[in-house]
């Protein structure tokens, strides 16, 4: 009841601030941008006209799988960036402006406050990711060839858990910092460090959640879900829940004066 109240209010907040409109649109743009450019690049170059006479342009057309992976890669970079930016102030802004004083002076459970905000943002991100990938899939299948829709949908669901991990990292920094900018910076810094760490030791830590999109790539090519994908997604879920739990504790211990 109390949890639903906060969840609904968060959804209304996202709606009134037009996040339900621009976030899906931006995600969709990210997802279709690369496959479209890859397809039209030869045509664009040809019609540009300043190619020397007789020169042949031979850009290999990407395969269906490669094109679909382009969508994921864009979301991996820019999508994560947007996700961090729209959630950087979820709690930290309330802490710095003082809204939290009115909310938390009511008998609100800190866990409700934290998880309802988290879930509302996750709803927005999941819907945006799925819409973006479906649109990307539509263009890819029209332009490059066939790819099973269920395969795309399965990939998208695995991919959502990667964003869950990102968001839980943002929530930890939200729970004790009052500057949204700093929250965003530290969250992105953490993701970069984890990525670097994973790519250095990727033979040892094959279960790193940072490899989820790589494993989704192999799944799209082969059509077989590797155990590593299950494994890294499971780890992502466990770490997310631990981080959420940590952020609830940090928020409770937060004492402003």
């Amino acid at each position: 009841m109390q949890w639903q109240t906060i969840y609904k209010k968060e959804m209304l907040d996202h709606w009134r601030h037009f996040k339900w409109i621009w976030v899906p649109i931006v995600f969709i743009l990210f997802a279709v941008m690369d496959p479209l450019t890859a397809y039209f690049m030869p045509i664009i170059l040809e019609s540009a006209g300043n190619v020397p006479e007789g020169a042949t342009i031979d850009i290999p057309t990407p395969s269906v799988g490669e094109a679909m992976i382009m969508s994921f890669n864009q979301l991996n970079m820019l999508g994560v960036l947007i996700a961090v930016v729209i959630s950087m102030g979820l709690i930290s802004r309330e802490l710095s402006t003082g809204v939290y004083e009115l909310i938390l002076s009511k008998p609100v459970r800190y866990s409700h406050y934290m998880t309802a905000k988290f879930t509302a943002m996750m709803t927005l991100l999941s819907v945006s990711i799925i819409l973006a990938l479906i649109t990307g899939w539509y263009y890819v299948t029209v332009l490059f060839g066939d790819l099973a829709f269920t395969q795309l949908l399965t990939s998208a669901i695995f991919y959502i858990f990667y964003f869950m991990l990102i968001l839980s990292i943002v929530m930890v920094f939200n729970s004790f910092l009052t500057s949204p900018g700093l929250v965003a910076f530290l969250s992105i810094f953490t993701v970069v460090v984890l990525n670097a760490f994973t790519s250095i030791f990727d033979h040892v830590i094959t279960w790193s959640p940072m490899l989820i999109s790589d494993y989704i790539g192999t799944y799209i090519f082969s059509g077989e879900i590797e155990t590593d994908l299950y494994f890294s997604t499971g780890i992502a879920i466990i770490i997310s829940l631990l981080l959420l739990w940590l952020s609830i504790i940090l928020l409770k211990r937060q004492e402003m004066h």
Binding site: Q2, G98, I103, K106, P107, E255
Partner: protein, 302 residues
């Protein structure tokens, strides 16, 4: 029976003691002013009582219960600078806050409308809070504190940041609430305390200096002031008056003399007698009780 008792409250922030061994009780139906200069620890005290921050030592009891639940159930709190979700309307915000305090949707709605009437915001309930004036926000802040029918209403500097009109509105509102609620509010404006509160708590450097009913504190004062004014100023008046042992101090003011005395009755008799015998043309004779301001300054500077 006290509805709330604070027992030996102490709060230390990074080795710095902000509130120091504070004990007091609040009686039901009283309006209590927490007075003190800036930095006296008023806000920290109120935040502890509102269940926001935990005391480093001591405890807070409601209704003399031994194992109290979350004290936020008992308290309605208005912070010094209330900040709302500006994108919500006044009505939406009240309903939201009511539901957070476990009211059902219908209960929250009914209560919200009732309170919007009380704080005279019914006409603006559909407006976004971002468009409210300072006074309107403060009144909405009071309304949100009342949403879950708390036993104790805590208001942190409810009028300090308002213009005279807003101040008047909020003071009237407090006077109205006083009829059936227990209120604890902090202020450094002594007039406000004198105007609406029954009791005062005087705080400085985190310590409780004085507490009690306003009249009681007034009557405890050792010195009183008699104010004299004359048509034309008598010669040697200061020298003449200083002879009396009841006169403690004479201060020349714009239109007359403020005379601090120990014993009003004795001083009155002596003063009137000398005025009579000297034939000074008196235009004003007034016995002033020491203002809360005098008491405040005296207690704080001691």
């Amino acid at each position: 029976m006290a509805i709330m008792s604070a027992n030996y409250l102490t709060k230390t922030f990074q080795g710095h003691t902000v509130v120091d061994d504070l004990s007091f009780k609040l009686e039901p139906g009283k309006c209590v002013a927490l007075l003190g200069p800036n930095g006296a620890g008023k806000t920290t005290t109120l935040r502890m009582l509102a269940g926001f921050i935990k005391p480093s030592q001591g405890n807070i009891q409601f209704n003399e219960e031994q194992f109290a639940k979350d004290i936020r159930h008992y308290v309605g709190y208005l912070p010094q600078y209330p900040v709302f979700h500006n994108w919500m309307t006044g009505e939406e915000f009240l309903i939201y806050v009511g539901k957070l305090a476990y009211l059902s949707k219908n209960e929250a709605k009914t209560k919200a409308h009732e309170l919007l009437d009380l704080v005279r915001l019914s006409d603006d309930k559909q407006k976004r809070i971002g468009k409210y004036s300072g006074g309107m926000k403060q009144r909405l802040g009071i309304a949100q504190a009342l949403m879950h029918d708390p036993q104790l209403i805590i208001l942190d500097e409810p009028v300090s940041s308002l213009d005279p009109i807003g101040r008047r509105e909020v003071l009237n509102l407090i006077r109205e609430l006083k009829k059936d609620a227990t209120i604890l509010f902090s202020t450094h404006i002594l007039n406000d305390a004198e105007e609406v509160s029954d009791d005062i708590l005087l705080l400085n450097h985190g310590k409780l200096l004085k507490q009690g009913a306003i009249q009681e504190i007034h009557s405890q004062q050792e010195t009183k002031t008699i104010y004299l004014a004359f048509q034309d100023e008598p010669k040697f008046i200061e020298e003449r008056l200083k002879e009396f042992n009841s006169v403690f101090n004479i201060k020349r003011e714009n239109t007359g003399f403020a005379i601090t005395v120990h014993d009003v009755n004795e001083a009155r008799a002596q003063l009137l007698e000398v005025i009579q015998s000297e034939g000074w043309n008196l235009t004003k004779f007034e016995v002033l009780s020491a203002s809360l301001e005098d008491i405040f300054i005296k207690a704080v500077t001691e």
